[in-house]
C-alpha cells in the first residue's frame, strides 16, 4: 500500500516541472544579446564559470525551436532526464523488492524494509502516531527521492558527457546530457510547492478553517478590559508575521536545496581546476566525500523541515484526541 503511494508521488513529481520556467527566461536573455559578439566576448570567462545557473534545454518540445530558443509544451531539459532515470530506478527497485515478499525478509527486501521502517520511526517521533499514518508516504518519498537524486548527481559522467559549442575544443561542454536533479531550480520549487499545497490540505483537515485561523492569530482567552483589547491587537500583528513566515517557507525550502546542490557542483568543478591537469582528482577527493555527506544531510533537512512544519500546525489536534 505504501509503495503504491510512493509510486504515485514519484510520478506526480516527475510530471510537474514540465514548463521549464527558468530555462525559458535564460533562453530569452541569450536571444536578446547580439549573437556573434557575445560568443567571442565570453570565451575567456567561460573556461572557469562552471555549471550554468539554469538547465540547458535538450529537446524544445512540440512546436519549439532550438534556433530561436522557443519552448513548446513537453520540452525536456537535461536535469529532467536524470530525474526520470532516478524515478524509474526507485520504482524498479521498489517493485523488485516487493514482488516476492517473504515473511522473513532477505537481500533487497530486507534493505528496503529497513529503510522504510527506520524512516517510519523517525517521522513518528516528529509527527506523532496519528499524523504519521496519514503523511508518511509523502515525507518518505521526498527523502528517498532527494537522497538518491543527490547521490546520482555525483556519479562520474554527469556534466562531462555532452555536446561542446561548435568551434570549441572539448574542454568545455556547454550542453551536458545529464545534470544533477536538484541543481535545477524548477525541481526544488516543484517539490516545495507540492508540499505547501499538501500542508494546507492536512492543516485544514486536522484543525478545520476556524482552528487554522485561530492557530495563526491566537485570539481567544486574553482576559477583558483595556489590556485584553491590547493583547488582541498584539496577537493580530503576530498573526501577520506568522503568515509572512509561512509564505517564506517554500522559498527557503526551494533555495536551500538548490543552493546546496548547485554550489556543491560548482565547488567540485573549481577545486578540480585548482589541482591542475594531473592532480585534479586528488584535490577533489575530500570535497567529493563532503558532497556525499551534504547530499544525505540536505535530503534529511528537506524531509525534516517539511514534517516539522506539518507537525507544528497539526499537533494540537492530536493532543485533544488523546485527552
Amino acid at each position: 500500500m505504501i509503495f503504491h503511494r510512493l509510486l504515485l508521488v514519484i510520478t506526480l513529481i516527475a510530471a510537474l516541472p514540465f514548463p521549464a520556467l527558468f530555462g525559458a527566461e535564460e533562453e530569452e536573455a541569450a536571444k536578446s544579446a547580439p549573437a556573434g559578439e557575445s560568443h567571442h566576448g565570453d570565451d575567456h570567462k567561460e573556461k572557469h564559470h562552471g555549471l550554468p545557473k539554469t538547465a540547458p534545454v535538450l529537446y524544445h518540445g512540440i512546436g519549439g525551436d532550438a534556433e530561436t530558443g522557443k519552448i513548446g509544451p513537453l520540452a525536456i531539459t537535461n536535469s529532467m532526464v536524470v530525474m526520470f532515470v532516478v524515478a524509474v530506478g526507485i520504482i524498479v527497485v521498489a517493485q523488485l523488492a516487493t514482488r516476492n515478499a517473504q515473511l522473513i525478509p532477505a537481500g533487497l527486501q530486507n534493505f528496503v524494509e529497513w529503510l522504510v521502517e527506520s524512516l517510519y520511526g523517525f517521522f513518528e517521533d516528529v509527527l506523532g502516531t496519528h499524523m504519521v499514518k496519514k503523511t508518511f508516504w509523502f515525507f518518505a518519498t521526498i527523502f528517498i527521492f532527494i537522497l538518491f537524486s543527490n547521490w546520482f548527481g555525483l556519479l562520474p559522467g554527469l556534466g562531462t558527457i555532452g555536446w561542446a559549442e561548435p568551434g570549441h575544443h572539448n574542454e568545455h561542454i556547454s550542453n551536458p546530457l545529464l545534470r544533477g536533479v536538484n541543481a535545477d531550480l524548477n525541481m526544488t520549487l516543484a517539490m516545495a510547492a507540492i508540499f505547501m499545497v499538501l500542508w494546507l490540505f492536512w492543516s485544514l483537515q486536522a484543525v478545520g478553517p476556524g482552528g487554522f485561523l485561530g492557530h495563526l492569530f491566537d485570539v481567544k482567552g486574553h482576559g477583558s478590559g483595556f489590556f485584553g483589547v491590547f493583547l488582541v491587537v498584539v496577537f493580530i500583528c503576530v498573526g501577520v508575521i506568522e503568515i509572512v513566515s509561512i509564505g517564506v517557507r517554500p522559498v527557503a525550502l526551494t533555495f536551500r536545496l538548490y543552493g546546496n546542490v548547485f554550489a556543491g557542483e560548482n565547488m567540485l568543478e573549481s577545486v578540480m581546476m585548482m589541482g591542475g591537469p594531473y592532480f585534479g582528482w586528488l584535490a577533489v577527493l575530500p570535497f567529493y566525500l563532503l558532497e556525499v555527506l551534504v547530499g544525505l544531510v540536505q535530503a534529511l533537512v528537506f524531509a525534516l523541515l517539511t514534517s516539522v512544519f506539518t507537525a507544528l500546525m497539526c499537533e494540537h489536534h492530536g493532543e485533544e484526541h488523546s485527552q
Binding site: 516528529v126 527557503a252 536551500r256 543552493g259 544531510v297 533537512v301
Partner: protein, 62 residues
Amino acid sequence: MTGSIQVGLAALGSAIGVGLVGAKAAEATGRNPGAAGPIRTQAIIFAALAEGIVFIALFLGN
C-alpha cells in the same frame, strides 16, 4: 574578481550560527548521551534555518 557585501555578511552570520548550533548540540549530547537522537533532530532543523539565510541573501539580494 567581483563580489557582493551583503552575501558575504550573510554567509558570515549564518556560519557563526551553524557553528553555535553544532557546538551546543555536541555539548548537549555530552551531557546527556541518551538524548542524542532528539538533539540531532533539533540541531539539524536549527542549522538548516540558520543556513537558509545565506541562500535568501544570495538569490534575492541582487
